[in-house]
Structures are given as structure tokens and as C-alpha cells.
């Protein structure tokens, strides 16, 4: 099986540039990479993403939102992630189930046990080999993200929502230190990338010799 690496965090913490950085590191180290994202990553998943982020169902029920996230994930696992891992490729995914715990569990305050049930239902025992969470204060993230485009249905939530999302991410890293690591993303890009590199080496994803 290939390695399954996910990158997570609130908006504006630098996911896009660090995703590119990780991909380059992995490829220099000989990994064949599949880079993908959630919600989305498949034709059906992108349609579900459209429904999830559009403003046409502003008040969709939290349970429906959660089930759609996992529907997108089930399709993604079946069509993209598992075939790639079984083909010994490395999958690098922009957001995964940790985002569901953070946004739907923390942000929307849904029962974490209900998320955990769906996680087991959809994923069985599959968990990412390594999840990198880019962490920065909500004000920093929102200031960086704010100018990019009109906020989608989730981005338009208020600051206290994102404070709860961030808190959940931090708690996840505390609870699963062997596979989830928190990176201080409030630092300059080079300093962030240095931490990411160290984590990839520490988790035996890439070889020290590459550096």
C-alpha cells in the first residue's frame, strides 16, 4: 500500500502553497503522487461539493451536511484513494475526515460519536498515515483568506465558529499524536516548510538524504 497523507486546517493557513511544497518533496523522494481534495476529488464529489458550499441551501440540516461529506468521501475512496494506494502510489489529500471533526463536530457542534460512527462506516479501519494540520490564529487565517474571493456557505460563518474549528483541530492533534501533527502556520513560509519537512522525515515518509 502507498502512503496516505492529508493536509488540513482553517482557511488562510497556507494549504495551497504547502500542498505544492509537500508534493515536490514527495516526488523528489521517489513517490508517485496523486494530489486530490475533499469534499470533491471525483465527478460526483465535486457535484456534492457544489451543493455543500453554495448558498442555495443556506440552512441545510447539519445531519444532511455530514452525510453528504461522507458520501463524497465514500466515492473518493472507492474511485481515487484506494485504487491509488493499492497501486503503491502516495495520496496527498487537501482536507479529509479531520476537517469533518473540526467543521461539523467543532464548528457545528455535532455529536463527535455520530461522526465517528460514519467514519467507521465509510472508512472501515483506514486512517491517513500522516495528517498535517496547519494551525494559526483565526484572525490571521481569515485576514489572509478574506481577500481571495466571495465567502462560500461555510466560509461565511462567524469567528466563534472558526474558533471552535481551530480548537477541534488542536484537540485532534493532542489525541492522535502518532498520526496527526500540528504545524505553527503563523510563522514565515520557510519556517513552516522546515517543520513540515521534519515531520515527513520523522514519520518515515521521506528519506533524510533528499534534503
Amino acid at each position: 500500500m502507498g502512503k496516505f497523507i492529508t493536509l488540513d486546517g482553517i482557511e488562510g493557513v497556507g494549504k495551497t502553497s504547502n500542498l505544492r511544497f509537500i508534493k515536490e518533496l514527495l516526488e523528489s523522494s521517489g513517490h508517485s503522487c496523486v494530489v486530490t481534495r475533499e469534499p470533491g476529488g471525483t465527478n460526483l464529489g465535486e457535484s456534492l461539493r457544489g451543493l455543500l458550499l453554495s448558498h442555495s441551501d443556506e440552512n441545510m440540516s447539519p445531519d444532511a451536511e455530514l452525510l453528504m461529506m461522507f458520501a463524497s468521501r465514500a466515492e473518493h475512496l472507492s474511485k481515487v484513494i484506494l485504487p491509488a494506494l493499492n497501486n503503491n502510489q502516495t495520496v496527498l489529500c487537501d482536507r479529509f475526515t479531520e476537517a469533518t471533526y473540526a467543521y461539523q463536530g467543532g464548528g457545528r457542534q455535532l455529536d463527535v460519536d455520530k461522526i465517528s460512527e460514519l467514519e467507521d462506516w465509510v472508512q472501515g479501519e483506514l486512517r491517513p498515515d500522516l495528517t498535517i494540520i496547519l494551525d494559526a490564529p483565526v484572525e490571521v487565517g481569515r485576514a489572509r483568506a478574506g481577500s481571495r474571493s466571495a465567502p462560500d456557505r461555510i466560509e461565511k460563518e462567524k469567528d466563534d465558529f472558526f474558533q471552535r474549528v481551530r480548537k477541534s483541530y488542536i484537540e485532534l492533534a493532542d489525541h492522535y499524536p502518532h498520526r496527526i501533527c500540528l504545524i505553527d502556520a503563523s510563522l514565515r513560509l520557510e519556517a513552516v516548510q522546515k517543520q513540515i519537512l521534519a515531520k515527513l522525515i520523522e514519520h518515515d515518509i521521506i528519506d533524510q538524504v533528499v534534503c
Copy 2:
């Protein structure tokens, strides 16, 4: 709480005309009715129905299909069904979870325990007060439905799929005789409606005096 009545069965067994008949009976008996359908019944649910039945994701994974059915159901319960029941209205729904057991469990041969987990997850203890399943041989249903319109993604399945769907419906009625009843829909419409009327009286949904 109002009464929750669902009507189910394979294509071509007469759901549309019998739904109208049941609605009229209920209204003559003093019920205030909300008539709705699954998948669908809400703005989001109808969008999900569009994805489920369209041919753009011909081979969507069975797990994704199942989760989307329940996402539509969660929204439907939250926005339409529960508010109506709490308002003492009678909800009459064209297809519900029994269809999921029949189509995804029987037709697609998904693990029934996985469906049951999602049923509990989404519905808690809520079950319809009465489910009427219109039953007819697959050939009869398909012959009647065949000429109506181009088959959607599910209707285009082969006969053995629908044989399994029908078998599941029959088994459901066997397993839950107190709340699910099978009606022989291969008879003439008047004979079918006579059976439906008897079931509504038997289950104390309408009063004999109406007849």
C-alpha cells in the same frame, strides 16, 4: 404527533394513482395531509435526487449512493416530515427507508446491517406508522412503467436487480407485519384500492364510518 404513512414498491405498480387515492381517503377522514416523496421532498433533496437518478455518474459507488439517500432523508425529516408530524399533520410519503432496504440492500446487495446503522443514525426511533407496499411481478410493473419515459439510472437496471428488489419488499412485509403490509397490485385498480382501504381501517388510520 400526526401519522406517518409511506407507500412503496417497484416501478409500474400504481404508486401515483394510489397515492392520490390514499390522500383523498385521509382528507375525507379529517386528516390534514402533507404529501411528499423520496429521494427529494426538499430543495436539497431534489438536487440529490437529480444526482442519484442522472446518468452522469453511472457507476457511483454503492456506499455513496446509500449515504446520499440518507442525506436526502435527513434533510427531509428535518425540514418537512418532523415539523408536519409535530404539527399533528399526516405525512404521506412516496417511498421511504423500505425502498432503501429494497433497492440498495436487495437490488445492489449491500449489507443490510449497514443500512440499518444509517437508519438508526438518521431516524433515531422514528419509523412509519404504516407502510403500504404495492406488489406485482416485475414483468407486470416494468411493462406498465416502460412506456412512460426514458429510464433513469436506477430504472435502467436489469430484471434480476428488480427481482431482488421485489423479494426484499416481500421480506420486509414478512418481518414487520405490524407496520408494513403488502398489497397485491396485479389486480384491477378497484380491487387494489379495496385492500388499501381495509389496511387503513385495520391500522386505525381512518375510521370505518368514512366508507
